[in-house]
């Protein structure tokens, strides 16, 4: 399986990338780690006419902590997130993506912009209340996670924009849990649930729950959050809250999962993720 022929340019700066994208026309695409794009190109599902390679652009990799938030360069690879000692939920989820080889190449920016509802990181960004910085010919803007994921494989990043950084609130003191269900370790999530819990004196002060592969975009399970917030953080209230996990979801069925099964999985995994986040497992 061979990609269709395309033109190729290496950008030396973000501005250069924006210019090259513009010049490349509507089917020009950015190349980050390539591990979402190249597989689709080999199957000839994606047929870009030009790739603009970001690998030489300085300043797009690495993590910094400032003002209670992580700034993660868009070209930071999953394995760097996975092995970071303090990154919490994002690192944990990154460590479940595909396999080590893929995690050595795939980038957080590429994964988010790809907008695959079965990917691990989008729901985490959504639950954590993060954002991305996108730079285009019109300047730089911040896109909140809640506004980023528009539809199946569709985000609000414009075709001529480059995502340069991802911002994730550090949420110090919050507990987290990540429950990913797949048939094989290297598979995409059939369903995954991430949970973040802040507790004081045994009561749930605040809670965020993200759902992967339960609709054409990642989702927040707000009904679960509403049901648990302010409640004692125990097995009973977690179980009760998790019952709401499939509310307002629209999971796609496939050979290995019916929509009914995925809704059931969402509830089971939600309970497990919350239990883990609450430190009760």
């Amino acid at each position: 399986m061979i990609p269709v022929d395309f033109d190729y340019a290496v950008a030396e700066s973000v501005e250069d990338a924006i210019r090259l994208l513009g010049a490349g026309g509507e089917d020009a695409k950015l190349l980050a780690g390539g591990h979402s794009l190249i597989p689709l190109m080999k199957l000839r599902v994606a047929v870009p006419t030009m790739l603009v390679d970001l690998r030489n652009v300085q300043g797009l990799s690495g993590l910094q902590r400032d003002n209670g938030s992580w700034r993660i360069g868009a070209m930071t690879v999953h394995s760097e997130l996975e092995h970071h000692p303090d990154l919490g939920l994002m690192g944990r989820a990154a460590g479940t993506i595909a396999d080590p080889q893929v995690r050595h190449c795939g980038t957080i920016g590429g994964s988010l912009v790809h907008g695959d509802p079965a990917s691990d990181l989008p729901a985490v960004l959504l639950a954590a209340g993060g954002s991305v910085t996108a730079q285009g010919s019109g300047g730089r803007r911040t896109i909140e996670a809640a506004d980023l994921f528009k539809d199946y494989m569709t985000t609000s990043v414009a075709p001529d924009e480059v995502v340069t950084a991802v911002h994730v609130p550090a949420l110090d003191g919050w507990g987290y849990g990540y429950q990913k269900f797949n048939r094989r370790a290297e598979d995409w999530a059939m369903v995954a649930v991430c949970a973040l819990v802040s507790a004081r004196d045994g009561v749930c002060e605040d809670v965020r729950v993200g759902l992967t592969h339960m609709a054409s975009t990642p989702l927040r399970a707000t009904a679960v959050e509403d049901a648990l917030r302010g409640q004692p953080l125990d097995a009973g209230s977690i179980a009760k809250a998790a019952e709401h996990a499939a509310q307002d979801t629209d999971p796609p069925g496939d050979l290995n999962a019916t929509p009914a099964y995925k809704r059931h999985l969402a509830r089971v995994l939600c309970q497990r993720a919350l239990t883990e986040a609450a430190g009760l497992s």
């Binding site: 061979i2 022929d5 033109d7 080999k42 080590p100 080889q101």
Partner: protein, 169 residues
């Protein structure tokens, strides 16, 4: 056809200058341009890992990397790891512990195993299994591959078979 792109890449310690189509996959550049046929292709979907090589010291699937992305970088393939006269300890361990049958997945499996030990010198069985979860083998059931990687890490393993135990006793 799009214009070819010059790529300067170091492979197994030797510098090469290639002119490739942008769509040329690294695995094909290695196999066809450089004659390094030890790196194999087993699938179309980055699933099987037979094409695993090291890029700047990290295991990658060379079927999912464009050759042009490797400009200025270093690649190591199974041929660079060791030769029949000078086997790498991981190669020795695969031989000693019968970690291969048809051999097709083996170069990728060995490169994945070496990558694991580079970062985790004493991995647990579970860590080994997850480190090679992106490398499929149809022959061995992975049992002896896991043992070979354990052995290469200097950890004790059971003998490869009871009979081997008996003979060695």
């Amino acid at each position: 056809m799009s214009a070819t792109v010059p790529v300067r890449v170091t492979v197994n310690g030797a510098s090469h200058h290639l002119d490739v189509e942008p769509r040329r996959l690294l695995v094909h550049a290695l196999r066809e341009e450089l004659g390094l046929t030890g790196t194999h292709v087993g699938c179309d979907t980055s699933s099987c890992g037979a094409c695993t090589v090291h890029l700047d010291g990290r295991a990658v699937k060379s079927c999912t990397v464009l050759a042009v992305q490797c400009d200025g970088r270093e690649v190591m393939t199974i041929e660079g790891l060791g030769s029949t006269d000078d086997l790498h300890p991981m190669q020795e361990a695969f031989w000693e512990h019968h970690g291969l049958q048809c051999g097709y997945c083996t170069p990728g499996m060995i490169m994945a195993g070496v990558d694991l030990l580079n970062r985790t010198p004493q991995p647990s069985e579970s860590e080994i299994r997850h480190a090679i979860e992106g490398n499929l083998c149809r022959c061995t059931g992975y049992h002896n591959i896991v043992k070979a990687i354990q052995a290469a890490s200097g950890q004790q393993t059971e003998a490869t078979s009871q009979a081997r135990d008996e003979v060695q006793a």
